[in-house]
């Protein structure tokens, strides 16, 4: 029997992206540049996070015309962002044929209480998480891939590091808990108990886990890989840099050779200026994108 949109197929799609770089693009031209630089997928959105941060206003799903044009010009997978809780944007992206949907805190949430019920879709979803409980809630709702939230649009990797260390640390912690203490951990962190049991037994998240939010240099990408993520999303970091093509290629190479300092040194030279960075404590807590969703 042939079945489409199964959990294996959704989760498996993310497995194929591992060790790769998914790049934010806003135009077909940028998508083409990303593909030529060796991106394993592109993420279509209206504006990159640093522009959303600067412009303010409501950030929505990208114009379907643009998403369609991006799908027409590249052969690699095309992902697109939908607002948290906006299941109609997600349905539209699914109908367009987007390969993965990011229910993303980078866009203005459409629902402050409920995320999308993602199991109902054939298209797979990726969601952001800052800790194990949040990651497992999203997976329980049907996310077939997780990424750190980080703090998008800042060019500052500190929050992505915090979130990756937190998730990995909590996984190690629950692995060592006696079974009778797991329910209390589930209660405290809001982690669905069944998934928590699975994590405690297997010592890893049940889906692929990427890094995102603030990655701006090859060294940032390699740092996240060494901290244990499976691949990286780069948002503003590429097209807000002085020389996007060179930087994109270097970040791709750094994600493959993350453990080889010699190669990292070679690819980190002559890149031109990185995107401007931002101190996280300069952003008021209520303006931090990572606080969106729960």
């Amino acid at each position: 029997m042939t079945e489409k949109g199964t959990w294996t197929v959704k989760k498996g799609m993310a497995e194929m992206l591992k060790g790769g770089v998914i790049m934010d693009v806003t135009t077909p031209e940028q998508a083409k540049i990303a593909e030529e630089a060796g991106a394993c997928a592109v993420m279509a959105l209206e504006r990159v996070p640093s522009d959303i941060r600067a412009d303010g206003g409501v950030a929505r799903m990208a114009d379907p015309t643009i998403v369609q044009k991006i799908m027409d010009v590249v052969t690699i997978p095309v992902m697109a962002k939908a607002r948290i809780g906006h299941f109609v944007e997600a349905r539209i992206l699914e109908a367009l044929g987007a390969d993965y949907i990011d229910e993303s805190e980078v866009l203005t949430p459409a629902d402050e209480e409920f995320h999308i019920e993602k199991h109902q879709f054939k298209v797979p979803f990726v969601c952001g998480a800052r800790n194990l409980g949040e990651a497992l809630r999203r997976i329980a709702e049907g996310a077939a891939m997780i990424r750190t939230k980080g703090e998008p649009g800042t060019g500052n990797v500190v929050e992505a590091v915090r979130h990756m260390r937190r998730v990995r640390g909590e996984v190690r912690y629950v692995q060592n808990l006696p079974k009778e203490e797991l329910m209390t951990f589930a209660k405290k962190t809001g982690a669905p108990y069944d998934l928590l049991l699975q994590v405690a037994e297997q010592g890893c998240l049940p889906v692929v886990n990427f890094a995102a939010g603030g990655i701006a240099t090859p060294a940032d990408a390699a740092l996240m890989m060494q901290l244990g993520c499976d691949g990286v999303f780069v948002g503003s970091g590429i097209f807000k840099a002085k020389d996007p093509v060179t930087r994109a290629k270097a970040i791709v190479a750094a994600t493959t050779h993350y453990n080889d300092a010699q190669i990292l040194a070679e690819i980190s030279t002559n890149l031109g200026e990185a995107m401007p960075g931002m101190e996280i404590n300069m952003i008021a807590p209520e303006n931090r994108m990572q606080e969106r969703g729960w």
Binding site: E3, M13, G20, C40, M71, K122, T256
Partner: protein, 189 residues
């Protein structure tokens, strides 16, 4: 037995796990020096364009091609099949071009059309093999000397040519060891 798994991008760890379950030792291949002393090589699923670019950039394309021509067993899955094909329809991307086959990329459609199905593979016997197809390619045509090992809806999805084995689906995503065992037997023979 030491099997290299090309680890530039994609699902290389899954292949390693299965190969290890079958009793083989594995090594991740990222640079030409990692090819020394291998008994075989696996090219995993992933993005064939991304993997192809890194093959060129890190000088792996020519040495792998040469080893293949000298008889090194190579098993490619999905992106790996694309990289093994002599001809890729409508694309001009770097590839190893070791097998006399022509392939079409993303030939079953986009991710929403990705599927799993029970596949009859006579060489593996009963029961059917649960095959996972993700934005999968298929083989459009084969030249003489290529053995067609499985088809799905009349499309070739598994083929062998001497020391080369290529699957359009992802044996690394299932717990069925039979196809990897078949490949390991190819190495011994």
């Amino acid at each position: 037995m030491l099997v290299g798994v090309l680890a530039l991008q994609g699902a290389f760890r899954e292949h390693e796990k299965i190969l290890q379950s079958c009793g083989a030792n594995t090594r991740q291949v990222r640079l030409p020096q990692h090819l020394a002393g291998l008994d075989a090589l696996v090219i995993p699923g992933g993005e064939s364009t991304a993997i192809g670019k890194l093959l060129v950039k890190y000088h792996l394309l020519a040495p792998i091609k040469e080893l293949g021509q000298k008889g090194l067993p190579v098993f490619g899955t999905c992106a790996g099949l694309i990289l093994l094909a002599k001809k890729i329809a409508g694309a001009n991307q770097p590839a190893l071009q070791l097998m006399d086959i022509a392939v079409a990329r993303n030939a079953f459609g986009r991710q929403v059309d990705s599927f799993e199905t029970g596949l009859t593979i006579p060489a593996l016997g009963e029961p059917d093999y649960q095959a996972v197809f993700i934005r999968a390619p298929y083989i459009i045509s084969v030249e003489p000397g290529v053995e067609v090992m499985a088809t799905y809806q009349n499309k070739i999805v598994l083929a062998r040519q001497n020391n080369f084995l290529a699957a359009a689906f992802h044996p690394e995503l299932t717990n069925d060891l039979r196809l990897h065992q078949y490949f390991l037997e190819m190495i011994i023979n």
